[in-house]
């Protein structure tokens, strides 16, 4: 069986343009802070030291009406340690900080709404939320998939690093602020300053976008199916390709979302591109 690295190299060699057009690449930025931490050949090291072997067919129901956030998160961890791969949270009651820090494979179903900071810092689980989520859902999420059936609050997917974060309804302001990877999909509209200081990744908004979209974005791509109230500083319209449109259609179909008839693609104009290009010693010479 070919290694992950070999498979990736083969795929890239066969379809370099297609991959690029689908935004399936990432640009290597200059400077010390843009260090690449993971590489495909390290795949075998991707499991966390204290992760658990779970069985998706082993299912547990957890009524959290009377539990606080810490107790709920500890209970999830305990169930994973016992091999439960499917956990159903009942009566979450919009409590804050539920289902955070899950660094494991897990099928988590939340039958209700979450408060602030739900599902933050996760790496790996598939989560389906039947209700709404409050501010800062999936902050710093690294991998996995979250699907929210209703609406979401502001700073949705802040500093997202990987995985798919899907909200089928409307989301608040500053969606994807400082995101560094992964995909945010919004079925409805998004508020002011979405994609603010975005570094990498892609944001897909099927509805309308509010003011200052993509303000000060460094990189990454924003696709909007509806209208855009205004673009932020250094955000410019990019050229939409057929391959990208086909990719978005496939991606939305995956989550049962209708695909808009046309898209507007927003990228960084890179006129503000001064992000740590110089080493401190070089800065001294320039300044």
């Amino acid at each position: 069986m070919a290694s992950l690295k070999e498979a990736a190299q083969k795929n890239h060699a066969e379809n370099p343009q297609k991959n690029h057009a689908e935004a399936m690449h990432h640009e290597r930025l200059g400077g010390r802070t843009q260090q690449v931490f993971f590489a495909p050949e390290e795949a075998e090291n991707f499991t966390y030291p204290q992760s658990f072997e779970v069985d998706y067919n082993k299912r547990a129901n957890l009524d959290v009406a009377e539990l606080d956030a810490k107790a709920v998160n500890q209970k999830i961890r305990q169930l994973m340690s016992e091999g439960y791969g499917t956990i159903v949270l009942q009566n979450p009651g919009a409590k804050h900080s539920l289902a955070v820090g899950i660094l494991n494979r897990l099928n988590l179903q939340i039958e209700g709404s979450l408060g602030y900071f739900g599902c933050g810092l996760i790496d790996g689980p598939n989560i389906r939320i039947k209700g709404r989520v409050g501010w800062s859902c999936a902050e710093n999420m690294m991998a996995g998939c979250i699907v929210i059936e209703k609406n979401a609050g502001s700073t949705f997917g802040a500093a997202l690093r990987g995985g798919d974060l899907v909200c089928k309804g409307d989301v608040g302001s500053r969606t994807g602020i400082d995101m560094k990877g992964g995909t945010i999909i919004v079925g409805g509209k998004t508020g002011i300053f979405s994609g603010f200081m975005m570094q990498r990744g892609r944001m897909v908004v099927c509805g309308n976008a509010g003011k200052n979209l993509g303000d000060s974005m460094y990189d990454g791509t924003i696709y909007v199916g509806g209208s855009i109230e205004s673009l932020g500083v250094d955000a410019v319209e990019g050229e939409m390709t057929e391959l990208e449109a086909a990719f978005l259609k496939r991606k939305l179909a995956l989550y049962g979302l209708p695909c808009p008839k046309s898209w507007t693609k927003i990228v960084s104009g890179k006129q503000l591109w001064n992000y740590d290009n110089l080493e401190p010693s070089e800065k001294k010479l320039v300044l």
Partner: protein, 311 residues
Amino acid sequence: MCGIAGLIHKGRQAKIGEQMTQMLTALKHRGPDSTGLALYGAGGDGDYVMRIKFAEQEETLHGFRIAKQIAERKKTVEERLKELGAKNIQPEKAREYAYRYRFAFEGDLRRLANFIEDVEGAEILSLGKALELVKDLGDAQQIATGYALENFEGSHAIGHTRMATESDVDIRSAHPYWAYPFADISVVHNGQLTNYWNSRREMERRGHRFVSNCDSELIAVYIADRLSEGCELEKAMKESIDAFDGVFTYLVATHDSLGMAKDSMAAKPMVLYESDDFTALASEEVAIRSVFPHEIDTVDPYEGEVRVWHH
């Protein structure tokens, strides 16, 4: 940080004292310094209801002659009420330092309010035919119990849990603020107004009074000023978004309406639930869930949004 909440029943009365207490209890973690409720009920069946304090809570703990001073202030206020023509004056003790008065009055409300607040140590918390404003140090449960609010029935209410940032921890700086001297108008606010002092000086030049150094009081005064010029509530709130600098989400209640406004950066949270006969708003959904535990659809209002609901 502060937590704010509001609710309005359309066309019916309900136990709003209990409901608002539940919502504010759920928001306690956003501000433990003080709690306040502005409740809109049947009031005095056509009479005015005045909520007034004669001292700060802390003064009663450490003052030497405060009990005597409170008695003197109360006596003076009652004399002044009679002097200006108030009839059928019925005082009711809520706390050692806070009273509720019900009276019939047909004269100039501003003159009456000015005359009463001229009494040293007396501060009117609210004055109106529907509004009853209660605020004190402590959490919502303590205040609801202390002021016997749990059976209060009415149509709408706003409330606040305060984390003091820019002014003292005392009743004077607690929310809600009554829009002095306009009957039945109150305000709660979450945020910071960065043009507070400039705007305050402008309002003072226009003859408005401030009792605290809390920036939220400016909103109540601003709304009062605009209403005094004949402006509609919703228009006044829309204009306020440009008039104020900073980050804010605030709620305003009048005798029959509840309004919300959010700044143009949408930097302060607000969650909204609307049904055919009920609307609830709060800084966090967990407060709405305390009244509606079953699954409901909620949304975040957007930047610069102003909404008004009527009873």
